[in-house]
């Protein structure tokens, strides 16, 4: 699970504070994506800095917070969001509604699947149906798990799989 975190920090107005605030992010394995240094915004004599970074897990983020506390870096505001990855699969062929239900149940039981939307079309008179499955997952490994899930399923049930081309 990858988290993207945006924090408003307040640093003491003495040289070397910015480096001292950013250092725990890299040393704990975080990945700095952006820093905005507001020299002109003073809050209680401190300088405002906005930092965006990625952390691989909640414990990593908490280690960074602990380190900031030790270094007297004040944290004024935290916004964090889990990074999600889109999924898109199109299934074409003789897919019954029972099979679709079973596919949906299978997907719901896979870890880190955040959301799923299923669209299912096809005339009652024709054996060919199409299902479009879209959604998001919160881990890159799950993308591979889903590819394998659909690959096995389409091989076994003999319908065509069209996977999304991730950007």
């Amino acid at each position: 699970m990858k988290m993207k975190i945006n924090v408003d920090l307040r640093l003491k107005d003495v040289p070397g504070q910015l480096v001292s605030a950013l250092d725990p992010i890299s040393s704990c394995g975080g990945n700095i994506r952006g820093v905005v240094h507001h020299h002109d915004v003073k809050d209680g004599g401190r300088i405002a800095v906005n930092v965006t970074f990625e952390a691989s897990s909640d414990p990593v983020f908490h280690r960074i917070l602990d380190e900031w506390e030790k270094r007297d870096v004040e944290v004024a505001k935290i916004n964090s969001f889990i990074e999600t990855y889109p999924i898109r699969y199109l299934l074409v062929g003789d897919i019954s509604s029972a099979e679709m239900e079973s596919v949906t149940r299978g997907l719901e039981s896979i870890e880190n699947v955040v959301s799923i939307d299923v669209r299912y079309t096809g005339a009652a008179t024709s054996s060919s149906h199409t299902a479009l499955i879209t959604g998001t997952v919160s881990s890159q490994d799950t993308l591979k798990t889903l590819d394998d899930f659909f690959y096995e399923r389409t091989q076994k049930k003999n319908y065509l799989l069209v996977r999304g081309l991730e950007l």
Binding site: R88, L90, V92, G93, R119, T121, G122, S128, H129, T130, L132, T134, L160, L161, V162, R163, G164, L165, L167
Partner: protein
């Protein structure tokens, strides 16, 4: 340099004509390039400096390029004949790679360079052919075998020589792209779009190689060997084609602001040809019959090349670039 042309159909005639029209270019390079022989499935002609116009005219009017019968043992003929480069333009066969495989090996073993547009031998026996070229100190060139005029192989091997190529995704078959695009634009069912492609001369009467992804998979195998340094063949490529794509599937994809394209992919341990949902606006969402390849390298990042994947002049252009490269290497 003396060249022998094997196969005298669309591509064979195209390269013969280009050799005729590019004589001043060869002169400027201080090299004389002459056609000293050509053969098709039944006839053979040889001579000191054959006129390409005469050969093409003869093939068009009589159905045969030569006035002699093709020898029983073509392999021995290739080994013994006096020439420097074999231009192999014989048909692709993905089951056994013949006759191209035997012709190419005979030429390499007898110390002749080879330029081929034929995918079969490369997709099935790449390492054998490369080893034969190395062992005999000659060059094996095959730009035309993948993507016609799209310069993917020489681009990757020469201009991007210092890069690590991480992955490649491409539209490697113009016929499938044309069919999928017509289904989307006109709402045509698959078989109608296929018939249109056949009427326009894009698809063969037997379109299996195109629509079942065989042609694309052969190209994936060639690229995996040529630019990723893998030792794989056609059968290592996981393949599915487009014949089961329905109008409903195309319409549902459109609702998602996407198109369906047959994509060849190498990377992440995967060798695959499959229909994929491609977001509109992505380089690989193009319509028409163009081929396109999108490669990711460690230093340069993303590079996309495109070009006409088939056609007489387009394929001849790729073979000409190989011919020039052999002449330059000789200097």
């Amino acid at each position: 340099m003396k060249v022998l042309i094997a196969g005298f159909g669309t591509v064979g005639q195209g390269i013969a004509e280009v050799i005729g029209t590019r004589q001043s270019l060869f002169d400027a390079m201080g090299e004389k390039v002459s056609i000293v022989g050509a053969f098709d499935s039944s006839s053979l002609i040889y001579g000191d400096n054959l006129d390409p116009k005469y050969l093409v005219e003869k093939k068009k009017t009589t159905g045969k390029v030569g006035d002699k019968e093709i020898p029983d043992d073509v392999a021995s003929y290739i080994e013994e004949a006096d020439f420097d480069i074999l231009l192999d333009t014989t048909p692709t066969n993905i089951d056994h790679a013949e006759p191209g495989l035997t012709y190419i090996l005979s030429a390499l073993h007898s110390g002749k360079h080879v330029i081929t547009s034929n995918k079969g031998p490369l997709a099935l026996k790449f390492s054998t052919l490369s080893a034969a070229a190395d062992a005999n100190g000659v060059q094996l060139k095959y730009e035309a075998s993948v993507g016609g005029a799209m310069p993917i192989i020489n681009l990757s091997k020469q201009l991007l020589a210092g890069e690590n190529i991480i992955s490649l995704r491409g539209i490697l078959n113009g016929t499938c792209n044309f069919i999928l695009n017509r289904m989307k634009e006109e709402g045509l069912p698959f078989y109608q779009a296929l018939r249109e492609a056949q009427d326009l001369g894009y698809a063969e009467t037997d379109p299996t190689y195109d629509i079942d992804g065989v042609d694309s998979a052969a190209k994936v195998a060639i690229l995996a060997n040529a630019i990723f340094g893998m030792d794989v063949n056609y059968y290592d490529v996981v393949r599915s084609g487009i014949r089961n794509i329905t109008e409903d599937a195309i319409a549902l994809a459109a609702e998602e602001n996407s198109v369906i394209r047959l994509i060849g992919e190498i990377g992440g341990g995967k060798l695959e040809v499959a229909p994929r949902l491609v977001p509109m606006g992505h380089p690989l969402s193009i319509g028409g019959t163009q081929n396109m390849a999108n490669i990711i390298t460690d230093l340069a990042g993303e590079i996309t090349v495109s070009g006409r994947g088939a056609g007489k002049n387009e394929t001849a252009s790729a073979m000409l670039s190989d011919l020039i490269s052999i002449i330059r290497n000789k200097e």
